[in-house]
């Protein structure tokens, strides 16, 4: 097992689109193991995306089980993840291992439906909410070359300010 080097902004690889995974082979399994070790070595990291270590493949790992009392699925390796449904909006604070010493408020969907392949290459579907849904959205953004800095809102941003009165 090896710890991988986490790229930090402004590394240009962080702003690039990652490619779908075509085949799950032994090499990929080793990479996933290293990616997970790298996530767990970081302080408080609940997710990581392959582009954060310079590999432009659509692979993320999320594990929010360190947060008690929330609905979650535990350790998840998600390959070619795709959000198929979004619902609700919530503002929450985020930071990123690729952007040290900065946290900021970001609006994310409260509930999502997600489809992805697991480590064995089997298609899976998940219903997620809250903190776990936020983590997945943060990591999938990495696959699309987006950082939470691209989605910052001010602390007095009102979620409902664009409400349409009928």
């Amino acid at each position: 097992m090896a710890l991988l080097n986490i790229l930090q902004y402004p590394d240009p690889l962080l702003k690039q689109m990652a490619e779908p995974v075509e085949a799950i082979d032994n090499e990929l399994e080793i990479f996933i193991r290293d990616l997970e070790a790298t996530m767990r070595a970081g302080p408080g990291g609940v997710g990581i995306a392959a582009p954060q270590v310079g590999i432009l493949k659509r692979i993320i790992i999320v594990d929010v089980s360190s947060k008690p009392k929330i609905k979650q699925h535990g350790r998840l390796v998600l390959i070619n993840p795709e959000i198929t449904e979004w619902e609700g909006m919530a503002k929450g604070r985020e930071g990123c291992m690729s952007v040290p010493d900065y946290t900021g408020n970001v609006i994310r969907a409260k509930n999502i439906k997600l489809s992805a392949l697991n480590e064995q290459g089997e298609p899976c579907e998940y219903d997620m909410e809250g903190f776990e849904a936020r983590a997945v959205q943060h990591e999938i953004d990495h696959l699309d070359g987006l950082l939470f800095l691209d989605r910052l809102v001010s602390r007095h941003h009102d979620l409902f300010q664009r409400k349409v009165y009928k």
Binding site: G47, A49, Y102, T103, F131, R155
Partner: protein
């Protein structure tokens, strides 16, 4: 950079377009580096607080910025600070308080919260509503030094004073 010092610049004056650009280009041309800054329009005035790194003394820094401040009609104050970058505290609680505007509300609320261990990192407040019926709104982000439950009980005391208040834990996601 040896001998560089940090200063805190406060500039306040009537709001007009281009203030930020004018002030920051004068600082840039004078050899200053900007650090953290907070700028906001308050009651038609524009207020700026900027951390500035500058390789010179207070007198030299005044020479860099005085003319620009004067031509923009900005009141300027400079302090030498023991500041540094990368000294952020992450807030773990957000508190919103609102109610009919009345004297002493901020002092009352912040006093109770401070006793319950709240370290305020960021506070902004506003008076909304109408001139006849003003509503006071305050939004605080801070660190709960003695934990969240104590703050929750403190907020219950605040609510008995006739204001509405809510508390949200800020659980920062690192990913």
């Amino acid at each position: 950079m040896p001998n560089t010092r940090w200063y805190m610049l406060s500039l306040i004056g009537k709001d007009r377009s281009g203030i930020v650009a004018h002030v920051t280009s004068a600082l840039y041309e004078g050899g200053c580096n900007l650090g953290e800054a907070s700028m906001i329009r308050l009651g038609g005035n524009f207020s700026m607080m900027l951390m500035v790194q500058f390789n010179g003394n207070m007198h030299a820094l005044h020479e860099v910025i005085d003319n620009e401040a004067e031509s923009l009609d900005l009141h300027l104050h400079i302090d030498h600070i023991e500041g540094r970058l990368h000294d952020h505290l992450t807030p773990d609680v957000r508190i919103t308080v609102y109610g009919a505007d009345r004297a002493g509300i901020v002092a009352k609320v912040t006093g109770v919260l401070a006793e319950a261990g709240l370290h305020i990192l960021d506070l902004e407040s506003d008076v909304a509503g109408t001139a006849e019926k003003p509503i006071y709104v305050m939004n605080i982000e801070g660190h709960a030094a003695d934990g969240i439950p104590v703050l929750r009980s403190a907020l219950e005391i605040v609510k008995k004073e006739g204001v509405d208040a809510s508390l949200d834990e800020i659980d920062t996601l690192i990913g």
